[in-house]
């Protein structure tokens, strides 16, 4: 990657970080808390995604 592209990418990511920080803070402080079974309901489909990605990798190898 050329130097100007590195600098531009770094500035863009820096801006995204600045933009995202208040949102992260808001959701951490005011977001609803998980109830019993909530994390399980979220993790199961995400684990299915992990399994599916492994399957896709095996398909292209």
């Amino acid at each position: 990657m050329e130097l100007w592209m590195k600098i531009a990418a770094a500035i863009a990511i820096g801006m995204m970080l600045v933009f995202m920080f208040p949102r992260a803070k808001y959701w951490l402080e005011h977001g609803p808390k998980a109830e019993k079974g909530d994390w399980q309901a979220a993790i199961l489909p995400i684990l299915a995604v992990v399994g599916f990605v492994i399957l896709l990798v095996m398909m292209v190898r």
Binding site: M1, E2, M5, K6, A8, A9, A10, A12, I13, G14, M15, M16, L17, F19, M20, F21, R23, A24, W27, L28, G31, P32, K33, A34, E35, D38, A41, A42, P45, I46, A48, V49, V50, F52, V53, L56, V57, M59, V60, R61
Partner: protein, 223 residues
């Protein structure tokens, strides 16, 4: 109006509004994805240089940060969302050109494309059918994205392929979470503007596709 009419009418109105939001969001999302794909095809055909990706992503990011919030409540928002998704699609051109030049390139692109579609439909369908509120994931997802951004920032200068691959893996997990989060926010009233809902889901799909393309390209032995 008796008590029964009142109790039936309110949820029905709310359900109608939710159904309208979901319908409008998926219609706009479909249209922006098609437009984005057309722009990507045009970008591949005219062989845009590698810097195009970065310029388009920065342009789309600025529009998403500063212009979309001011226009999302008017019809101009639809034009802005097409501009953002068109730019992001156009930016994909050099990336797709690179992968198309690899021996297994077309297979990798098709697998990433199909995989993204299946993941999105599966997760969004899951969130729609369970009707569970996934907004409790908000803090975790936004902090996770910040960690990924810090990792990406470091890797611009470190240039470690393993770290880049780990970032792509992390983005796939986070975008999967964001699809659940954004879809459940539409159902549970956390998001009432279909332009913002489309923007959130489009970004999840876009990032999912790029990360899947990276992982498949790297692990296929071609990258």
């Amino acid at each position: 109006m008796n008590r029964l009419d009142f109790s039936v009418a309110r949820p029905a109105g709310s359900t109608l509004a939710t159904n309208k939001l979901i319908k409008n969001t998926y219609m706009l999302l479909s249209a922006t994805l098609v437009f984005s794909a057309l722009m990507a095809a045009a970008s591949v055909m005219i062989q845009t240089p590698p810097g195009t990706y970065l310029i388009c992503v920065i342009g789309a990011m600025l529009l998403g940060m500063f212009v979309l919030p001011r226009t999302a409540n008017s019809s101009a928002g639809i034009g802005v969302i097409f501009l953002i998704t068109g730019l992001l699609g156009f930016g994909l051109g050099p990336l797709l050109t690179y992968y198309l030049a690899l021996p297994k390139g077309p297979q990798i692109i098709a697998t990433a494309f199909g995989g993204t579609g299946i993941i999105f439909l599966g997760l969004s369908g899951y969130a729609l059918t369970t009707k569970r509120d996934f907004s409790f994931m908000g803090g975790f997802l936004f902090v996770g994205m910040m960690v990924v951004f810090i990792g990406m920032l470091a890797n611009i200068f470190l240039e470690l392929p393993a770290l880049a691959l780990a970032m792509s893996g992390g983005i796939i997990l986070l975008m999967s979470g964001f699809i659940l989060f954004d879809t459940s926010r539409m159902i549970n009233g956390g998001e009432t503007n279909y332009i913002f809902a489309t923007y959130g889901l489009y970004l999840s799909i876009f990032n999912l596709f790029i990360s899947l393309l990276h992982i498949l390209g790297a692990l296929s032995g071609d990258d």
